[in-house]
Symmetry: C2
Amino acid sequence: MSFPLNKQLVDQICTDFGLRNAKELGNASIRQLVGVVSNIEAATGEHFIHMELGSPGLQSERIGIEAEHKALLAGYGSRYPLIYGIPEVKHWGSEFIKAFVNINIPEDCIIPTVGSMQGVYALVRLISQLDPKRNTMLFLDPCFPMQKQQCKVMDMPIEAFDIADYRGDALEHKLEEYLSKGNIISLIFSNPNNPSWMCLSETELRIIGKLCTKYNIIAIEDMAYLDMDFRRQSGRPYEPPYQPSIGHYTNNCVHLISSSKIFSYAGQRGAIVAVNPVLAHRVYPALTQKYGNNGEFLWNFIYVILACLSSGVTHSVQFAMAAMFKAACHGEIDFVNNTREYARRAEQIKTIILRNGFHTVYDLDADNQPVGNGFFFTFGYHDWTGEKMLNKLIYYGVSAISLSSTGAAREGLRGCVSAISEKEYDELDRRLALFNNDFSAS
Amino acid sequence: MSFPLNKQLVDQICTDFGLRNAKELGNASIRQLVGVVSNIEAATGEHFIHMELGSPGLQSERIGIEAEHKALLAGYGSRYPLIYGIPEVKHWGSEFIKAFVNINIPEDCIIPTVGSMQGVYALVRLISQLDPKRNTMLFLDPCFPMQKQQCKVMDMPIEAFDIADYRGDALEHKLEEYLSKGNIISLIFSNPNNPSWMCLSETELRIIGKLCTKYNIIAIEDMAYLDMDFRRQSGRPYEPPYQPSIGHYTNNCVHLISSSKIFSYAGQRGAIVAVNPVLAHRVYPALTQKYGNNGEFLWNFIYVILACLSSGVTHSVQFAMAAMFKAACHGEIDFVNNTREYARRAEQIKTIILRNGFHTVYDLDADNQPVGNGFFFTFGYHDWTGEKMLNKLIYYGVSAISLSSTGAAREGLRGCVSAISEKEYDELDRRLALFNNDFSAS
């Protein structure tokens, strides 16, 4: 079968999968889309060019793999992991943050989680119970859509706005508008941003931090792509430039660092939550009232929430994370240079996209600088909606996710470069040219 | 320092840990108790005899460890795991249930989870959203207290009764009383029972199954201790006697099988949820309304709930589970014989307990047979409450959990034999004798 694929067949697969119709693809979650595409591949025998799932395209750090095997041979596989984390991951997690973000989070405030997915879920569950008068999460869009799904699953109300049109000082007024209403308890953002790859500037982080302190808002900073703003020459431990962080501007914050992207370790589901010590030890009467304990943020995060989500994090993976954090601190793993491969791929793929009639959607970053090349990029086609693009591209063997699911005010798709190898560039070019040939006049 | 430990010091550690006072120990969760005891050990230099945490005391199955290493070397560590499980774990999970429980759950209804802790959390989260008119979970007590904490964290109402006084046919009337009220959507039990080690008989499972069908109640069957009723000569694949299961008596059920105890693999957090196919494919309008999808139980369990809890289960652990299930089906791992060690320890430890003034609390099983020896046992002291026992035993370097936290109608403690090695028997004897000497007259 060649492209475009048989429309009737593809549509049937979408509805068989559980979507109400093929148009629902635009609203499908990432994992749902992965499922549909996998079924289409099986039915048609055609291999897709996968730009939907942000799975690393590099080899896992070998140091992690060896640490896991050693831990299993030493017998850790049989024993429940410490729910607050093994001492090694607490220690080296703390050092890693010192070395690459230049903030001090003590070891007791470093807690491993089953990926940052569990970290955010657990934080949202806890934060939603802190204050009976404030129950809403504010998203700085565009965002990672699974985090909105998490709030929906937990019935936590959300608000959101696209920050692209409120860069620099303009952010302050816009944020005040939301935070001053009194219903927001927490805000969440990723930096570098998934999906747009925009990066918050120090000015913007200072504004967010200042307002989080002023309105007692807990900032959740997702650092999944730590130090992957490849326009900067970062990545040397204990040396500037460091990863910009909200932690330099407020105490009211939590940082999530995942091993999935920086160490290409997504399969093993390991991350740490680093709670600012001032927030960690704050006491909330609502927690005492509900659970009959000391009401402390950190204590309830560990013993009430995380304990009942999974009884801790896979033992061997904790050892892997500890070993990789340690090696990075010692300069033995140069994760920034390793992942710079994504910037090279993005540059090539953007060229292919542009010459086939597509355009980049989020093209300007803070101070009107061009958005850098990295793990994700955004692309549009004429005045089409993202849903329409996705619904058509699917017949050409190209998958991505709709920006509308990320809360973007702009139309288009998010592409991930990680799964596209050099030998697929020509095929991508060919499929997009076919697509453009079929639709450029429409 | 010898026993009893310095009371002031121990009490201080309890309050420093976050409990309001030492008396709160009786209400502490298992993980909280583990934390307190670990701090007492550090402060006093005395090693406790640990009967609180049900961590396996045997070596992990080597086949699992090797499968993990092989998967990591093959590159699975870098790639996100399939959210619905790798084909191997789905296939061998299904075979395993056929071989040891004699029920047919198709591969697509076998889903890996980060331990059964995540399995139950995810099920409860889903089940609480199925029917706007029914919102309550019924526990067949005594129970694993973390499962009640899960409901509390999710704000799901619970009801419960201790089944020990309603064995056999008496169970039917008692269950009817609860299920006919119309507010119960699901019930949960473990078999063999944690903490009492009672085992539900075929008669009782038939009653529960019949009423689950009659009232459209979803039964959650926790098989953490599958085939560990060592009074029976089970454990030969595809040969009777099989593990008794609710699955023989209703379609309205879900089974949880964890690798933690049967394969001594607790550290790696791997389990499967096996959804009865009739339930799996049932459609719930409330799910469609909330999430805009097909409303199917299984689909929402995977793509809505599990996807946002942890993005799947550690990749290498899925391969370990698949390999261990396969080996058990082929008779290459005799997990029942391996874990029979717990029965031997229980027999010895019960003897020590009894000769020092303690008694067993749940001593009779179905048909007035004595409760078997296994992973857990229950013990009381005179007419003391479990809280009082725990609050005093802590000064003698012995830790366990209070039965009151399990919803037991009877007073006492749950002890786990897994962490007590033969060389600790004499020390346990000595400490309990000291205890009994100090309190026998009180």
